[in-house]
Amino acid sequence: MDMGHRHLVLAYAATILIHLVYVTFVAVKWRASKRAVV
């Protein structure tokens, strides 16, 4: 795999990883807010 391909894969992986981390944070907040209402 040359540098161009490696960086393309890294860029796509970073995009997905950052979104996954944030959506996990949102899911935690969502559950906590449900508990706060109860």
């Binding site: 960086h7 860029a11 995009t15 944030y22 949102v26 907040k29 807010s33 706060a36």
Partner: protein, 245 residues
């Protein structure tokens, strides 16, 4: 989670999957840069998403400042949406910086350079991270007012970022869309831009709506609890005052 949210999520994931397929396997390879140019199809939607959500944050901050004394429910909603949009805006900005840096390493041979576009974008990211830290560690209604004012000043950097490649000579490539005559990409590459743009903006709307609901519910519960305690305190002081007479 309501049915429309599941439907929105299903359509969003389908659009993102199609965007992935079109960007990687359908549109032709860039003749000058090779396959690394395909980073562009994730890089551009990140900046568009960032622009949309920071603009929503600005609008909500203005609404909050305008109605915070007269319409508390609307103010609470505006404030919750401001937080949600700032967070997803920061996420998109971070992705834009990371993907841009990876592209720069492959094409320029360097990870980073302090040119006007990159520096103003990093400053923008730091401003909104500071905004979120203020929201996280501050407390009370004054914190919300201060955060709203900070958001308005923070947004001043957005046009600076946008126009930086037009006003100054930068290492960052000249504007691809809306730039000089002859700028833009080949029409055969546009489907990858449109699919990913639609998919990532839809994804942002989905996540921001979830975050908004969570934030509003939490703030409402905290406010109700504070009002309940205030009522109980007033009742108690009324009883003790009555006993003293």
């Amino acid at each position: 989670m309501k049915l429309w949210r599941w439907l929105w999520l299903a359509v969003t994931l389908a659009v993102l999957a199609e965007g992935f397929r079109v960007a990687l396997f359908q549109v032709p390879m860039d003749a000058a840069q090779g396959d690394v140019q395909r980073i562009f199809y994730y890089h551009i939607p990140s900046w568009v998403g960032m622009g949309i959500f920071f603009a929503i944050n600005l609008g909500c901050s203005l609404v909050y400042l305008a109605v915070r004394n007269g319409k508390p429910v609307l103010a609470l909603k505006a404030d919750a949406l401001a937080v949600a949009s700032a967070e997803i805006g920061v996420v998109y900005c971070l992705i834009g910086l990371v993907t841009g840096s990876l592209w720069g390493r492959a094409v320029w041979g360097i990870w980073w350079t302090w040119d006007a576009r990159l520096t103003s974008t990093l400053v923008l990211w730091l401003i909104y991270v500071a905004y979120l830290l203020l929201r996280r560690f501050g407390a009370g209604p004054q914190m919300r007012t201060l955060a709203a004012v900070m958001a308005i000043f923070g947004y001043l950097d957005v046009p600076l970022v946008y126009f930086s490649t037009r006003w100054w000579r930068t290492q960052h490539p000249a504007p691809v869309f809306g730039g000089a005559p002859g700028s833009g990409i080949d029409p055969s590459m546009m489907p990858a831009v449109w699919w990913n743009l639609a998919g990532w903006v839809m994804w942002g709307i989905f996540v921001a709506s979830m975050r908004y609901v969570a934030e509003y519910r939490t703030q409402k519960a905290e406010q109700d609890e504070a009002l309940r305690l205030l009522d109980a305190e007033q009742e108690l002081s009324g009883v003790s005052g009555g006993a003293g007479r």
